[in-house]
């Protein structure tokens, strides 16, 4: 009973948290699923988005301007990873690690210090909800509205001529080249799109927790990946709608699982370990299933 009431207390916040992380989960899904190109840059673009937004708010800009510049910064960072990968022929994972390492310094340069508090500034939550930033459930509702908009845009874009071509490049580069697609530019654009989503997620996060911190990206990749995998298990990947919905549903469910675990008395610091084990199990599942099938 006590566990249930603890969980119910956590529910509104965990829903809002899941919605916050849905953006970066989308930003992780794009390279892994649409481009078939594993990429870690989100660990750097997420705090980049937060740093840009916090700095702009502190400098007197409004939250929308902050979000737009954060998106632009994310595109540049994602594009940088793609260019390093393509021009210098460095594996995409390593290219991403190089960029996220460099972003650590850049993010501190942007803020002028390792973190920036924005308690005293207007955010999308204070502007659109109420002066204290709104209750968790209304934050959740607002975020879901934004998520629906973002997913709608993504769905539309992936059905345009350029979007279909981007998915084609992700599915088969040799065929796409042979059909006249400059595949390199599509990969730059695709990782730019992923960077935009992750940075947007970081900028939302900064407003949600009222500060940006250079370390806020640590672990977001695995959270995004776990969300994507979880969501895919729940809604499937057969159609584009499902593939886009998966990271969102996954992020929401992931933070419910976390809330339950916390209600059961788990140490918050053990969370990463469990998330890692979960991702490991899902990645190993096909291999284990094959072994089991062979043994029979």
């Amino acid at each position: 009973m006590e566990i249930l009431s603890t969980y119910l207390n956590l529910l509104p916040v965990s829903l809002a948290q899941g919605a916050v992380y849905a953006f970066v989960a989308l930003g992780v899904m794009i390279p892994f699923r649409v481009l078939s190109l594993p990429d870690l840059t989100s660990e750097g673009t997420f705090p980049l988005g937060g740093a840009v937004l916090a700095t702009l708010l502190a400098a007197g800009f409004n939250p929308v301007a902050g979000l737009l510049v954060a998106i632009g910064a994310g595109i540049l960072a994602g594009g940088a990873t793609a260019l390093i990968h393509l021009l210098l022929k460095i594996p995409s994972l390593l290219a991403g690690i190089i960029v996220l390492t460099m972003l650590f310094s850049i993010n501190i340069r942007i803020m002028g210090k390792p973190n920036t508090a924005i308690f005293n500034y207007e955010t999308i939550f204070t502007e659109l909800l109420n002066a204290d930033g709104g209750a968790p459930l209304s934050q959740f509702a607002l975020l879901m509205a934004i998520i629906l908009g973002v997913c709608g845009l993504l769905f539309w874009f992936l059905h345009t001529e350029i979007g279909v071509a981007l998915r084609s490049v992700g599915a088969n580069q040799m065929m796409s080249r042979a059909q006249g697609l400059p595949t390199k530019w599509y990969i730059v654009g695709g990782l730019g799109l992923a960077g935009a989503l992750s940075a947007f997620g970081g900028a939302i996060m900064a407003q949600f927790q009222s500060y940006a911190d250079v370390t806020m990206g640590a672990g977001v990749l695995i959270i995004g990946l776990a969300s994507t995998i979880l969501g895919e298990a729940l809604v499937g990947t057969k159609t584009l709608v499902r593939q886009i919905a998966a990271p969102v549903v996954g992020a929401l469910v992931y933070f419910q699982v976390v809330a339950v675990a916390l209600a059961l008395g788990m140490e918050p610091s053990d969370l990463r370990l469990l998330t890692g084990i979960f991702v490991l199990c899902t990645l190993a599942a096909p291999l284990i299933a094959k072994r089991v099938a062979r043994m029979r």
């Binding site: 001529e161 279909v164 071509a165 998915r167 084609s168 088969n172 796409s176 042979a178």
Partner: protein, 266 residues
């Protein structure tokens, strides 16, 4: 030269060595030259490792040449990247999985092919009017794919995928069609279907075609030009008239004659 008399494609002394200066050095193309007139359907034969795939990859731009020229419409294209050459040529690969994007639907694959070599915009990826055209093209295959436009391509068999690739390659008329043993990976029934579809699309628009085949009877039956490649060189270039007199047996004899002559000379 008057434009109408340009060959569809001119290949001049192209050469390509893999791993030069190492123990694995392999001269895959050792000076290949030929012209294809518009509408010519050339069959390319040669033993394994002769350089046939390398030749097609060099034409498409997948493999850069070390020297030599490739000329289309009076323009040298040997330094163009693959995606730029796609304005002029299209191809069907040996592996049925290579020619289509598995995660995309049949109509999405076709929409990519319908815009081969064109600029893409933020307009909707498939237009209604196009769907009708796609259906009509797929109907010609007789595989029922016209009723499965929104099925993902990974649901199709190898033969169906290869047939789709062939439709994609000819949806937008290419100046040169490259086929690399495109029926070799299929079962005999599917291979026959794809071969029949090939002759139909090639003849329909008199498409200039370069078709590599491992199948001697295909080499005799199809096309109006024959190129035999051996160790990176064209060792036999038969015109339509010469080709019509060839039989599978005489081709094998010709091959052995040329090869043993060369051995005597070298």
């Amino acid at each position: 030269m008057d434009e109408s008399t340009y060959p569809a494609i001119r290949v001049e002394d192209i050469r390509r060595t893999f791993h030069p200066g190492t123990v694995q050095e392999k001269k895959a193309l050792r000076g290949v030259s030929f012209d294809l007139r518009p509408g010519e359907f050339a069959v390319v034969i040669g033993s394994n490792g002769a350089g046939k795939s390398t030749l097609l990859n060099a034409l498409a731009g997948e493999i850069p040449v070390d020297s030599g020229r490739i000329v289309a419409n009076g323009t040298e294209i040997q330094n163009w990247p693959v995606h730029r050459r796609a304005r002029l040529m299209s191809r069907v690969f040996q592996d049925p999985m290579m020619g289509t994007a598995a995660a995309l639907t049949i109509e999405e694959n076709l929409s990519i092919a319908a815009r081969r070599g064109q600029r893409r915009s933020l307009r909707f990826g498939i237009r209604k009017s196009e769907r009708e055209a796609f259906r009509a093209k797929l109907e010609m295959l007789g595989l029922g794919l016209e009723n499965r436009l929104s099925d993902r391509v990974d649901l199709l068999s190898g033969g169906q995928r290869q047939s789709l690739t062939l439709v994609m390659a000819t949806l937008k008329q290419p100046q040169l069609l490259l086929l690399d043993e495109h029926t070799a990976a299929l079962d005999p029934r599917a291979a026959a279907l794809v071969m029949r579809a090939t002759t139909e699309v090639v003849h329909e628009n008199a498409t200039t075609t370069l078709m590599v085949t491992h199948n001697m009877s295909h080499a005799i039956e199809f096309g109006n030009r024959l190129l035999m490649i051996h160790e990176g060189k064209v060792i036999l270039d038969a015109s339509a008239e010469e080709k019509s007199k060839l039989t599978a047996g005489s081709l094998v004899d010709r091959f052995h004659d040329v090869v043993s002559d060369r051995m005597v000379l070298s």
